[in-house]
């Protein structure tokens, strides 16, 4: 084997190594992408038996100019993540709804005049809607006559220790994901 052939082989070997490295990075990006998607993450936890899904349905008849508040505490040893929030009511614009979590300074959301709507929380604000211990909902009927309100929320309860462990891994994953994406783009 002459010098030229050796050089060509070295170049080919380097190119193959580069391809392999890039493939590994792409595989990792694909895996992290799944991990960073809240719905996929929760589906994995449910499959593994580390979490369970709990749809909740509320139907309230609220007297004219009356208020109903809900203080909901998570089951012992669990935290909650909400996927979807759906509201419907007897009349648009008569209810005010405020929703707070775990003593945050500002409410998670405040709806001054509620209308029928669906909020895909896991898509719109992934991992932002976590209840560690309790949440608090205030519902005010601003109308002088009785009105009804129907609310649906689909929550997943995850074991607290599982979430504590995964939270750190998620943080690490998001850093790695950012770095890998930058390398790919570069």
């Amino acid at each position: 084997m002459d010098e030229e052939e050796r050089r060509l082989l070295d170049n080919m070997l380097t190119a193959l190594k580069d391809i392999r490295t890039n493939q590994e990075k792409q595989n990792k990006i694909a895996l992290l992408d799944i991990f960073l998607d809240q719905n996929r993450y929760l589906a994995r936890k449910v499959r593994a038996g580390e979490a369970y899904v709990q749809p909740a349905f509320f139907f309230l008849t609220v007297a004219g100019l009356a208020t109903v508040t809900f203080t909901t505490t998570c089951p012992e040893g669990y935290i909650a993540m909400s996927h979807v929030f759906i509201s419907n009511m007897s009349q648009s614009g008569v209810f005010s709804i405020t929703y707070s979590q775990d003593g945050r300074i500002t409410p998670f959301f405040t709806i001054v005049r509620a209308v029928p709507e669906t909020l895909e929380l896991s898509q719109l604000v992934p991992y932002a809607n976590i209840v560690l211990e309790w949440d608090f909902t205030t519902i005010v009927n601003n109308d002088p006559v009785q009105q009804w309100l129907a609310l649906t929320s689909i929550d997943t309860f995850i074991r607290k220790e599982v979430w504590e462990r995964d939270k750190e891994e998620l943080e690490q994953a998001s850093k790695e994901f950012r770095l890998l994406r930058e390398e790919q783009n570069g």
Binding site: A66, T71, T73
Partner: protein, 56 residues
């Protein structure tokens, strides 16, 4: 208005009534009303407080 804290004799849900405000406390399983015929499922003007257990 019957201000005070009440408990449903069937589902044991606790509700604190203050004027025209009903404060409901739920642990674990979400949803409302808790069962068919629950007195707390009515609006505050139609609740029969005599059917509930007064806690305080």
């Amino acid at each position: 208005m019957a201000d005070g804290t009440y408990q449903c004799p069937d589902c044991k849900t606790v509700v604190k009534v203050e004027g025209r405000v009903m404060n409901i406390f739920i642990k674990g399983l979400k949803g409302w009303p808790r069962h068919p015929g629950c007195e707390f499922g009515k609006d505050i003007d139609h609740i029969d407080f005599s059917k509930l257990e007064r806690i305080s």
